[in-house]
Symmetry: C2
Subunit: 221 residues, 2 copies
DNA sequence: CCAAAAGTGTTTGCTCTACACCCATGG
DNA sequence: CCATGGGTGTAGAGCAAACACTTTTGG
């Protein structure tokens, strides 16, 4: 059906989490050429019998042993010379994972080591992966500003302070507590539960839960 | 380098223009199976020595004989069974063209006919192309709301009424003339020229020109 | 002088920002 | 009773929406 040579297709997944009061990205150290021993975004070839999204989920689960709490396609990078091995088109995905769920990272075949890096202090990367990460961070901020993805990083019941902290980490700035709470409450997307947090050595915060569907478009901040 | 069978990769281009006071999309009638005689979004295989964007430009120029005034990647569709011929991943692009430039559409190989359809009255389409168009129209509206792409559809010098008309067509609703003008002028993205439009049988409008870079993010409406 | 589109301001309500103190709990 | 984070209101500025009449030109 096709008269031309085919390019190869890979998926790469930018996996974000919030850990130690910082925004983290999962990177892997390559065990094979090209770019052996350099850090890169995890990814791999798309198999003929799986969809792009299935491929992204598979790669992510191979690396972290858990399912993504949020996953969406980011962009497709298809410059002719982006991979020295030949023509490789990569479909980049963007994932969010709750850090509590992650126990241990696994080095898969071709990978020496997997590690969380601060999104604000990244090493030099293989291929055009710096461009991909730049794009991913922009998208991340857009998503948090205009949609409700944040709730995919929170437990079912959470305090308003936990919510605000995530925004402060991602936007790398402080928000006024009163204004933030007023704004969030006015959106009518969360509701009080009957519980308060236990085991805190100060006034126990009210816990809320999210009322809507994650990812929905709502201007948050 | 790869142990698996490769998928094929195509680009499909959703080409928009404003013509006859309506938002139009270019479709082609397929001359070959599968979906012979059905309407589809123009597209074709990505060649091994061209980037995705180059492929999109080539396909677009083959169809319309002109260069796009605006082009960006939309989304990559990669479900396993979206093409009955086998595994085909398509990278969809989104293009805007000034309608004055287009003289005649060309039917290329494999295509019986090319035709502009109203975006609000589309025929049944081949493959998953209805999903692609739905996605494209959403993106189009987003782009017009939050960026300055509109200027890629206007001549260098234009009146505020022409500008407003494009918004009314795309959002399929009327805007208040005074508020619209106030908003646009307050953005500080256009400036008066010394000219007024000629050959109109009424008060000749002031012509403006755009000061910035097309596509820049600015909340327009 | 008529038809057609251009051009122009004000009021009202809402939303965003800035800002500081008291409260509840555990140790 | 102290340390820690939780929880709350108000005033002022800026932005968005509603709304109608006069001006300029060609025919």
């Amino acid at each position: 059906m096709e008269r031309y040579e085919k390019p190869s297709v890979t998926v790469d997944i930018v996996i974000f989490t919030i850990k130690d009061n910082d925004l983290k990205i999962l990177l892997v150290k390559r065990g094979i050429e090209p770019f052996k021993n350099m850090w890169a975004i995890p990814g791999g070839f798309v198999r003929i019998e799986e969809s792009l999204e299935e491929a992204a989920k598979r790669e992510l689960e191979e690396e972290t042993s858990v399912r993504a709490d949020y996953l969406e396609q980011l962009y497709t990078f298809g410059e002719v010379n982006r991979d020295p091995r030949g023509r490789v088109i990569t479909v980049a995905y963007f994932a969010l994972i709750k850090s509590e769920k992650i126990s241990k990272l696994k080095a898969t075949a071709d990978v020496i080591e997997a590690k969380w890096f601060s999104a604000f202090k990244l090493p030099k990367l293989a291929f055009d992966h710096e461009k991909i990460l730049e794009y991913a961070i922009k998208r991340l901020r857009w998503k948090f500003e205009y949609t409700t993805v944040v709730f995919s990083l929170l437990p079912e019941k959470f305090s308003l302070t936990e919510l605000q902290k995530i925004y402060e980490i991602i936007f790398d700035k402080k928000f006024d507590k009163r204004n933030f709470r007023k704004k969030i409450l006015s959106l009518n997307i969360i509701e009080k539960t009957k519980e308060r947090q236990k085991n805190v050595s100060n006034r126990p915060p009210q816990l809320y839960k999210f009322k809507k569907k994650i990812g929905e478009i709502v201007e948050i901040i």
